[in-house]
Subunit: 231 residues, 2 copies
Amino acid sequence: MAAKRSGAQGKRSQPGELPEAVPEPRGEPPLSLERIVATAVELLDAQGVDGLTMRRLADRLGSGVMSLYWHVDSKEDVFDLALDSVLEYGGPPQACEPQDWREEVVGVLEDWRASMLRHPWSASLLPRRALGPNILGRLELLSKTLSGAGVADADLNVAIWSLWNHVMGSTVTRASFELSDDDRAAAQQRLARRSERYPTIERSRLLLDSDWDGTFRKGLDFLLDGLAPRG
Amino acid sequence: MAAKRSGAQGKRSQPGELPEAVPEPRGEPPLSLERIVATAVELLDAQGVDGLTMRRLADRLGSGVMSLYWHVDSKEDVFDLALDSVLEYGGPPQACEPQDWREEVVGVLEDWRASMLRHPWSASLLPRRALGPNILGRLELLSKTLSGAGVADADLNVAIWSLWNHVMGSTVTRASFELSDDDRAAAQQRLARRSERYPTIERSRLLLDSDWDGTFRKGLDFLLDGLAPRG
DNA sequence: ACCTGAACACCGTTCAAGT
DNA sequence: ACCTGAACACCGTTCAAGT
């Protein structure tokens, strides 16, 4: 959940030192929460959720395994921090003012989805994890936008969770069914072999040709149609 | 993915045997795929996803660990089979004929959701897993119903995945935020402590009072409104 | 304040062997 | 056809200790 305090450290560039001295040119920089989280994200990007191991993480950082535990409470903690770090919000894309609330909501959610697609392990980690500041920030932004658009207080939580589920679901599903072509072909093979049992999904090539971006956009439109303040 | 063949076995109740003989009264019955899967589900219900261990599973079955591997390819295989077994479809609830396609779809999805809520680990296993016959059967049923209702072929996959994401998302989210009261209070505490940063979600008590059933039903209605064949 | 190695109590799975 | 134990190559984390 909460990482340990990382006390005051790194008194870089004090005046009156050797002028030529390059800052930390040799060896690894010292351990820090930032470095641990950044390296964890690298490892997750490279090897997936199962690839993240405390020992491997320590190796990449050039430290002993147990050194990590001074900065971090547990492996769960590392997951929480990596997830939240990947969901940092950069703010609205342009200097362009949001024209209308609906465009604004779509923008917020598309940015969220794009962040998760950049790190395919992240969507599957979204449920069951403690919510970090960036995730809470995104929820707050979404919530404020919807509220400002006139969604009644009584409907606000329903609206937020519906949208959250849609973003998470469409990202997770896309990641899990975007297998290698071989795997997908094999899956459809198995399906075809018993096409008498599953004629409809075999005919629509559900496991082969699904349009993930379209699913996201259309589903989102339907939800927003429904959530739009009445009147 | 596919469990190993479990050859012909169990020639129960042949005629002309000792009439009083109780079938297998002493000791454990022999290992079988069915018994392995059923016990895995028990273990998952009791201990959650992390609680399922090949060694613990073997213990419960009264066998050696490696005996499992004759019936099963890997632990992944056990997960796939357990997940699919929990999603067996019992058919429509009553003798009542479906009045209209929309009611039928709602019924199919509510049954799906109910099955997963009975086994809180199942929703989180739904993504990333090979689709077993029961899951494929449910997809086929859903697909057929939508198709029969007039949803255009071009929209069919989008419709199925949107509904899949909604059912999975709402179940997974509910399970992960239905923590103990203590945990939930603590989460809201942390939120309250920085209520200046997250005023909206703090005010709406997003992490405390969310109405999961309402979210499911309302989100589903919006999706179905949107997916309904035009005209 | 920060880092370490040894040790503990586990994992999933390979393998060669038993019946 | 079905089951087994020993062994391998790992895990996350506790602990007592170093600087």
